[in-house]
């Protein structure tokens, strides 16, 4: 009997067959016999190949050439000096590319820019301070609706509303941080999730002000000195300018006393407080500062779409923003930008298999957590989560 179990564990073919059989049986009632059989074959093949590969690499040497190469590539990317060089190249291309892009790509790039702002903001809360926030779409929605309401009801201009949106999102951040400072870990995650959901439910049901599920349309695009920025190319430059500003400011704050306090809280809250850091104060700062960028991003979103509805700010949106931060590596400002870019263009890249997109995202989250919890270019030493 034990020999049989051992065979199932070590023999790649048997292991694959067993895993495939189990998966096939599990999905049989949902997917029907044909799909189940296909899944059985696919899983058998994948598991068997993986097991063979694992056995081989294990028996030949602990560090295969592949991982050496991979590590070398990583060291190129993650060394600080190279990052700066990369940054200049990327900035230059971000300035030059839109001149030759079609409006389809410009549209995607604008959304990518808005997501970069969101990811930067969430990175402050989750990545730097280590407070899991699952309702960031709530802050995003508050920013978007502040501009939408102020603009359509009172006709206030984009630039006048920008600080108002940012401040109203940060004010929501203060409200949220009140329960948050007393809680940690999972409880905090659930409360922030509740914040996001309550925001959406209120927007959805407060018909007299937000027009409920119909949303608000006819929001004005911004203009500078009488020149409208509603064109995609001009709007793209506006978004990118704000992203650069956000990166500059967050990077500065991150390296300041406040940023160091945030990281201390992330590493060990008790140790931080016993070193004289006022953890309550700095946690509130993190929520306020992070939500601020969500407010800015929300206003940019509203002005781009010229329409907002509660549908755009669901829980799944919060998860996507979190995915960007995790993919880029928690606490890694530049990594988070890359993560945001990847996730933002993902729907377009997966256009052919669009209906499987969410399946891939779900699976990706699990696989990422198991194999690379520090993100694609994350640094293990720097970041404990």
């Amino acid at each position: 009997m034990n020999a049989l179990f051992a065979a199932f564990r070590t023999n790649p073919m048997l292991k694959g067959a067993f895993t495939g059989f189990w998966t096939g049986i599990l999905i049989l009632p949902f997917a029907g016999p044909r799909t189940s059989f296909m899944v059985f074959l696919v899983v058998l093949f994948c598991v068997a190949v993986l097991a063979v590969y694992k056995k081989k690499s294990f028996s030949s040497s602990r560090c295969s050439i592949f991982s050496e190469k991979y590590r070398y590539l990583l060291s190129i990317i993650s060394s600080d000096l190279r990052i700066k060089a990369f940054l200049y190249i990327i900035t230059a291309s971000a300035v030059l590319f839109p001149l030759m892009l079609t409006s389809y790509y410009l549209d995607i790039f604008i959304m990518a820019g808005i997501y970069m702002l969101l990811a930067l903001g969430l990175n402050v809360i989750v990545g730097l301070t280590g407070q899991l926030h699952l309702g960031f779409a709530g802050s995003y929605a508050i920013g978007a609706y502040t501009y939408a309401l102020l603009n359509t009801y009172f006709g206030l201009s984009f630039w006048l509303c920008l600080p108002v949106s940012a401040l109203s999102a940060s004010f929501a951040g203060i409200l949220l941080s009140m329960p948050a400072i007393r809680l940690r870990g999972d409880y905090l995650a659930i409360v922030t999730l509740g914040f996001g959901e309550i925001t959406r439910i209120v927007l959805n049901n407060w018909d007299s002000v937000t027009r409920g599920p119909n949303g608000i349309s006819g929001i004005a695009a911004p203009s500078v000195a009488g020149i409208s920025l509603s064109g995609l190319r001009r709007y793209y430059y506006l978004v990118m300018a704000l992203v650069v500003l956000a990166v500059f400011i967050t990077k500065r704050v991150e390296q300041s006393r406040t940023g160091r306090a945030w990281m201390a809280i992330r590493e060990d809250e008790i140790a931080a407080s016993s070193m004289g850091i006022n953890t309550t104060k700095y946690k509130i700062y993190a929520f306020v500062f992070g939500s601020l960028w969500a407010g800015v991003a929300g206003q940019l979103f509203a002005a781009k779409m010229q329409f907002v509805s509660p549908e755009s700010f669901t829980f799944i949106e919060s998860v996507f923003i979190l995915c960007m931060v995790i993919l880029g590596g928690l606490g890694n400002t530049y990594g988070v930008l890359i993560g945001a870019f990847i996730i933002a263009i993902l729907p377009e890249a997966l256009r052919g298999i669009e209906s499987y997109r969410m399946l891939i995202v779900g699976l990706g989250l699990v696989v990422m957590m198991i194999f690379r919890p520090q993100g694609i270019i994350g640094n293990m030493k720097k970041c404990r989560y």
Partner: protein
């Protein structure tokens, strides 16, 4: 009117309580919010409808309705337990011992995966439960208690009592309690902690399957996204009663069901889903350990 709402709330509360048991047991032992637990409940609801459909085709239903319902419930429980077991082994076990953030995110991943898996294979439209359990109802002063409501309330109380006795007196139950108090110590006295965790997930998932069938027969229609909101409410119930405590989950579930049905009757039905979150935030601010929970100081 008031008593009618109380009865409706109790019925709903029983379902929440059963789902909350799964949350509370897993949290008690692993300290993990099993975000995907709501999806297991959704799978249970789907499975019961799928198997009932199969049995109707196979002719068992025309032979005996009770038999086919019982068999489909049994199969749904078995499949959901298998899902729970597999989920634990693939998504949570490799992350044991890492930070608290990773398993939570992994659980969100599982939840998204299962939701979209069901949407992909079963379609995004509503599924209809094929039978109406409406044999009889007791009417008293304008309050009606249908046979289905009675069945849900009675069977959930039986399940809760059974689970309570199981954890109190059986050997596995004692092992579960020991593991939830101190997993390292439990492993030192010879308890197979891995097995205990697996058993916990299997029991929790089985209970969620029962709750899924209850809600499918009570509401009559289900959809692939029912798991998310039900999961959050059940978690609220577990926190309300004191997470980690089994009687707490029952009380929390019933209380939440009552608040929700009375709130939507007397305040506003549109904000039905917001009550759960509101209560959750208030409890966590005032008494994070819940009604029956013990507060534990953090050790350094």
């Amino acid at each position: 009117m008031f008593f009618q709402q109380v009865i409706n709330g109790l019925t709903l509360g029983c379902v929440y309580a059963i789902i909350a048991l799964g949350y509370t047991m897993v949290y008690g032992i692993l300290g993990l919010i099993n975000f995907a637990h709501g999806e297991i409940y959704m799978l249970g609801a789907y499975l019961s409808i799928i198997f009932l459909g199969l049995f109707t085709v196979a002719g068992i239903t025309s032979y005996s309705i009770v038999l086919s319902i019982f068999l489909s419930l049994l199969l749904a429980v078995i499949f959901c337990s298998a899902f729970g077991y597999t989920m634990e082994k693939t998504a949570y076990k490799p992350l044991r011992g890492s930070s608290r953030l990773s398993p939570l995110i992994s659980a969100i991943g599982v939840s998204i995966f299962l939701q979209n898996f069901v949407m992909k294979t079963q379609g995004a439209t509503d599924k209809v439960f094929p039978y109406k359990f409406h044999f009889a109802s007791i009417d008293f002063l304008g309050v009606s208690l249908t046979s289905l409501q009675m069945l849900i309330i009675c069977s959930s109380f039986l399940l809760m009592a059974g689970l309570y006795l199981f954890t109190k007196f059986s050997k596995t139950g004692r092992a579960m309690r020991a593991t939830s108090q101190d997993a390292l110590m439990a492993s030192l006295v010879g308890i197979n902690v891995d097995r205990v965790i697996s058993v916990t997930f299997i029991i929790g998932a089985g209970l969620a399957a029962v709750a899924g069938m209850m809600i499918a027969s009570y509401y009559g229609v289900i959809n692939y996204y029912i798991g998310y909101i039900a999961g959050i409410k059940a978690f609220t119930a577990a926190v309300l009663g004191g997470i980690g405590s089994i009687p707490g989950a029952m009380i929390g579930g019933l209380a939440l069901g009552l608040v929700e049905s009375l709130g939507s009757a007397y305040i506003s039905a549109e904000y039905k889903d917001a009550y759960a979150f509101g209560i959750l935030i208030i409890i966590l601010m005032i008494k994070p350990s819940g009604l029956l929970g013990r507060s534990s100081d953090q050790k350094v």
